[in-house]
């Protein structure tokens, strides 16, 4: 009969961590596996981020070495009369996109989640515009927005006695036209996200409510929306951040016109760096990108803090 006795002296064996044991332990192999990722990220992600910060404080031209100019770039950007216009336009776009692109997908998703048969076709139809390359969507809608009386939209509206409208040629209609196309192209993705969240709601909650006598509206208000709270908040901020960076639509539809009515912050950055009239000023471009990033980051932080008390978790 044996029992565990006292530890035998002299048999301590602690593995010593030397470079050799690290290599033998597979450390080198791990680094080899990580190399592709580390290289790609270091070269095309982390390094550029650092350089943006540096370049915003420099004056760069491609021929000579860059010179340090302190906060001059930032000052010039802030004094640019185009900046307030760009900011206003960007906010306008974001707000309009929110009004159209936020509640409608939600309502659509709620309806779609209750479809009894062939629900798949709803999802496919909703998501189809998202799959189209944005360039194609914009150019297609540009054709629709032809301001002549035989433009696609104008001819359709003429049948019910409306129009013809100038669409992209009017400083007042240009931005809403952009928003309309953007909503068409992107709402489908939001619908799918909402659908996934809706189907994750526990059906027993609805059943309990039904037994308790809740009507359809009550159920939506008291169960669906609260259960969706987290995802609603997340998509809201994601959408705001995405629309704040809108570039393609203003660039392709109107190049920022007419009269800079569709000039957005991203377009301004592009013009600073690559535009024909202003171009080549990388300092101002990076300065403005940095400012935009900081604003978005602060906004996200404030948003997260404000909504922490509201979200369900």
């Amino acid at each position: 009969m044996s029992v565990s006795g006292p530890r035998r002296a002299g048999t301590r064996h602690r593995a010593r961590r030397t470079p050799l044991t690290w290599v033998r332990g597979g450390g080198l192999t791990t680094v080899l596996f990580l190399l592709p990722m580390l290289f790609v990220f270091a070269a095309f992600s982390w390094y550029p981020i650092v350089r943006t910060v540096l370049m915003s404080l420099q004056h760069t031209n491609l021929v000579q070495a860059p010179t340090w100019v302190g906060l001059q770039n930032f000052r010039e950007v802030l004094q640019d009369p185009l900046l307030p216009i760009a900011v206003k336009n960007t906010l306008e776009f974001a707000l309009l996109a929110l009004i159209f692109g936020y509640p409608i997908p939600l309502a659509a998703a709620v309806l779609m989640s209750e479809v009894r048969k062939r629900g798949g076709i709803y999802s496919a139809l909703a998501y189809l515009p998202v799959v189209i390359p944005p360039v194609v969507a914009v150019l297609l809608w540009k054709t629709f927005y032809d301001a002549s009386s035989t433009g696609v939209f104008n001819s359709v509206l003429a049948r019910i006695g409306l129009g013809p409208y100038p669409w992209l040629q009017s400083p007042h209609m240009a931005m809403p036209s952009l928003v309309l196309e953007s909503t068409w192209a992107n709402a489908g993705a939001t619908v799918i996200i909402y659908l996934a969240a809706l189907t994750a709601v526990n059906p027993e909650l609805y059943e309990a409510a039904a037994v308790d006598g809740a009507s359809l509206w009550r159920k939506v208000w008291h169960i669906t929306l609260p259960q969706l709270r987290t995802i609603l908040l997340v998509t809201l901020i994601l959408q705001i951040i995405a629309t704040a960076q809108v570039f393609l639509e203003p660039y392709l539809f109107t190049s920022g016109g007419p009269n800079n009515s569709t000039l957005t912050v991203l377009l301004l950055i592009y013009n600073y760096a690559f535009g024909n009239s202003l171009g080549g000023d990388y300092g101002k471009a990076t300065a403005l990108s940095l400012m935009l990033a900081v604003v978005l980051a602060l906004f996200s932080l404030a948003y997260l803090r404000a909504t922490r008390s509201w979200s369900t978790k």
Partner: protein, 383 residues
Amino acid sequence: MAAIEFQGVSKVFPDGTLAVDGLDLAIDEGEFMVFVGPSGCGKTTALRMVAGLEEITEGEILIGGRVVNDVTPKDRDVAMVFQNYALYPHMTVEANLAFGLKLRGIRRDEIRRRVHGAAETLGLEEQLERKPSALSGGQRQRVAMGRAIVREPQAYLMDEPLSNLDAKLRVQVRAEIQSLQRSLAVTTIYVTHDQTEAMTMGDRIAVMQRGTLQQVDTPERVYSLPTNRFVAGFIGSPAMNMVEARLTRENGVPTVCFGAHRLALDDELLASRSGLLDYEGKTVVLGIRPEHLEDAAFAPDAPPERTISTVCALRETLGSEVLVHFAAVEPAPDREVVSLADATAFVARVDPQTAATEGAPLRLVVDTRRLHFFDPATGLAVY
């Protein structure tokens, strides 16, 4: 075939948990050693340290006389059977079995010989072309074992291989594993939480609790000579009954008293438990296995000093036997007995023909040659 040895082995996890504490154990060549204990006792961790899947914090493990602390799993020449089989889901059964051999550069025809040999032994010839998802649980388990067999290793390491099988299959596969191990005579470490498996399968069993080895010995000796309360209570089903008792001397005869009962201690018992003399007049923990209590109706010649009178509180009829629950120690008369848990509940395994009925008085005969005693403070058995 190699012996496996643990020398002062400890394992501390990064979060500070001490999983294995100073394990010293030597396993002989060809031995079937079972590590048994409740979950969290360190048995699986000890096994994984032999396999090389866990780093050894302190101490040394030797396989075949060679210290393997820094040897990678693939060079240790051991094979492991996992609890959840861990089969490669995208490979056929044949590929699963052949994988380890291919990695070692064994010749194609040798691989085929071993794979088909193992398949035949395990009855898997029909399944060789199928993928794990198309197999039943028992078949998957066999493939996991086959993977170990084809490697022809120095040792098999099995981590609760039967726990995912249903009860009937478990009994069947248990027997198969045993006969397989006997015919192949490979050193085996088998981990389980099921003490029945441990008792039936092991050449020796190592009982562990909270990282320390409690006792290692043959099943018979662990059963009849447990070293402490834990081992005594863990081995044997239903578990050993235990109660606080006093050792006295009545009319010159050493007696143990608990509740309202008295039992005279046998000479045979005293001879093998000489340490009891130190406990005379003191409290001690008395242990009686359920199988050592019998309905007095079937042992009419038993003297009164080996009999206890009680009331049957619960009767469980199992067909092959009857379990009778009764209160060994009645609570004080002024305390209401709400449930059996208020009193120290004992279980007796009696002859299935017993007439014991719930609520009726019952007289039980105790095999006083098989009483166990434990120190109340340390839990160590008194011998």
